[in-house]
């Protein structure tokens, strides 16, 4: 959400500034800015030789709700879904009270950048991972809400996706706290803003469309028809048309269901190189030996991607 703010709450601080928590007394020295948004600022900071991410909020209510969710996730076993929470406190500076929390600093590539750099085959892999995490999150009784590439991080070793920003996380059954129009099913006229698993799954579908197209776009007229048209016309999305249409129309009841369906479609896609071979045959008349190389390359690529999927799972 980025409406223009009349900027009363400036949260810019220089590197070297030291924050001291009012309640817990921990000290954090700002190293550099990691990011900023409508909700606040995130800094990389040092606390006792440890790198942490310090998030300062313009609206403390939103920060507190994020902290509440992070605390609940701490109790989950297994692979962490997001950053772990170290501290939540207030910092009093120049008579102002700024709420902040200190979280694990996730070292990696924001998915936003990763999607631009890697091939579309990888997008599908990230999505399969994302759906696995969403299933676990939904089981805790929350939806993620503001699901978009900016709120996801690709961890450096291992290429695994982690959630970055839980500001939009909402208890199932309530109204979604935060959203971004492009990824919001309400905007596209394809459902309500009630927090239910299908809300996040719609956003997953939109992430895929966004990755295939490379940019966002605005609604023109009737949303559903427009989105289905986009899915039909993008060749990269062709193998996943059915999955996407179901996700956008809210036909999946759980992330798990969508994940299995998506995996099935990826596996079926194996046959694609053969189909490609047929098509390139007509072109191969001129090129001669190209066909063999083409098919081999395609097979190697597919095998590699499959191997990675299996490895990551």
């Amino acid at each position: 959400m980025k409406p223009m703010m009349t900027d009363r709450d400036d949260l810019r601080f220089d590197a070297g500034t030291v924050l001291t928590g009012k309640w817990h007394g921990h000290r954090y020295q700002i190293v550099r800015r990691l990011g900023s948004g409508a909700q606040g600022m995130v800094y990389l900071a040092r606390a006792c030789e440890r790198k942490v991410a310090v998030k300062m909020a313009k609206d403390r209510a939103s920060l507190i709700s994020e902290v509440n969710v992070l605390k609940k996730l701490e109790t989950l076993r297994g692979e962490p879904l997001g950053p772990s929470l170290f501290d939540s406190d207030d910092w009093i500076v120049n008579g102002r009270t700024i709420g902040f929390c200190a979280m694990e600093y996730l070292e990696g590539t924001p998915l936003q950048e990763a999607l631009k750099r890697t091939s579309f085959d990888w997008t599908v892999v990230y999505l399969v991972q994302l759906l696995k995490h969403l299933q676990r999150l939904h089981e805790t009784g929350h939806v993620f809400g503001d699901l978009k590439p900016e709120n996801l991080m690709l961890m450096n070793p291992g290429h695994s996706v982690r959630f970055l920003d839980f500001g939009g996380a909402t208890r199932i059954g309530r109204s979604v706290r935060e959203y971004t129009v492009f990824f919001d099913r309400g905007y596209w006229g394809l459902g309500t803003r009630k927090a239910e698993p299908g809300y996040d799954l719609f956003a997953c579908g939109m992430i895929m469309i966004y990755a295939a197209l490379g940019h966002r776009f605005e609604k023109k007229g009737q949303g559903e028809g427009q989105l289905l048209q986009v899915i039909r016309t993008l060749p990269r999305l062709a193998p996943y048309q059915a999955v996407l249409a179901k996700a956008l129309k809210g036909r999946y009841v759980s992330a798990d269901q969508m994940r299995r369906d998506l995996l099935n479609h990826i596996m079926e896609k194996q046959e694609a190189p053969a189909a490609c071979g047929k098509r390139s045959r007509s072109r191969a008349n001129a090129g001669g030996g190209w066909l063999g190389a083409w098919v081999t390359a395609s097979c190697i690529m597919t095998a590699y991607v499959l191997f990675v999927i299996v490895y990551v799972m």
């Binding site: 403390r60 902290v67 709420g99 309530r174 109204s175 129009v181």
Partner: protein, 244 residues
């Protein structure tokens, strides 16, 4: 259990009032009657005249205990629903602060609690914001300069209706346009739980030159007493049906 109702006026305008009483004063009156006044200023250019508009927008919201936000036309939808929700949270927090004053002490508020306790209070605030009933009287400026922006306003109101209907509590809306044909503000939709069908009302309106923001706000405040009369009526009926 009845948790009470939040009352809001949402004023969507693009500039300065130039007729009737001072809108800031009327907003203060509204606040006295338990109605929060939020203002959204739809400004596309920040020229000198808009500077004055900005001041008025902020003044009305401050006096009305609400939130003001200046937006470009295209960001209207998201802003309208966000401002409405934030104002709800703000009102609930204010009530909680007053209720807890015995515990918190004179000068302290919930904001001064340690983060852990504040987190728990915020969960209650969230819960109330989700389940309390909400009445919003929407007031749209249809003076000449707003004409081109009206289709976006219509979309924003539909979006607001959708956002709020995702809540568990009940919502009621009514819609006034100002200036009206004969009166200073014209009621186009009486209190209803669905403003999804405001489309037609917007097609019929002609735009005028004057901007009687103050008188229009007054009409909006009055609309809440009509609503409470209506509720009272329902209440009486329920009473009559009861055992004697």
């Amino acid at each position: 259990m009845h948790k009470g109702t939040l009352k809001q006026i949402l004023l969507i305008t693009d500039g300065c009032s130039n007729q009737g009483e001072d809108p800031v004063a009327v907003a203060a009156l509204a606040r006295e009657q338990g109605i929060t006044v939020n203002v959204i200023g739809v400004l596309d250019r920040f020229d000198s005249e808009d500077g004055r508009g900005l001041q008025e927008v902020e003044g009305i919201a401050a006096a009305g205990g609400g939130i003001s936000q200046i937006v470009q036309t295209r960001q209207l939808s998201q802003t309208v629903q966000m401002v409405t929700k934030q104002a709800m949270t703000q009102t609930i927090k204010g009530v909680i602060n007053r209720e807890l004053q015995d515990i918190l002490g004179e000068s302290e508020t919930v904001e001064d609690l340690p983060p852990e306790k504040r987190g728990k209070v915020m969960e209650v605030v969230d819960e109330l914001g989700e389940t309390m009933d909400l009445d919003v009287c929407i007031l749209v400026d249809t003076s000449a300069s707003m004409k081109a922006k009206l289709p976006t306003v219509r979309e924003a109101l539909q979006d607001l209706s959708m956002s709020l209907s995702a809540r568990m509590g009940n919502n009621q809306f009514c819609l006034y346009l100002f200036p009206g044909k004969r009166k200073q503000a014209q009621k186009v939709t009486a209190w209803t739980s669905d403003i999804g069908n405001v489309e037609r009302t917007f097609e019929k309106i002609g735009t005028h030159g004057v901007t009687p923001t103050g008188p229009a706000l007054k009409e909006a405040v009055k609309s809440f007493s009509q609503l409470s009369k209506k509720n009272l009526l329902f209440h009486d009926e329920a009473y009559d049906d009861g055992p004697r």
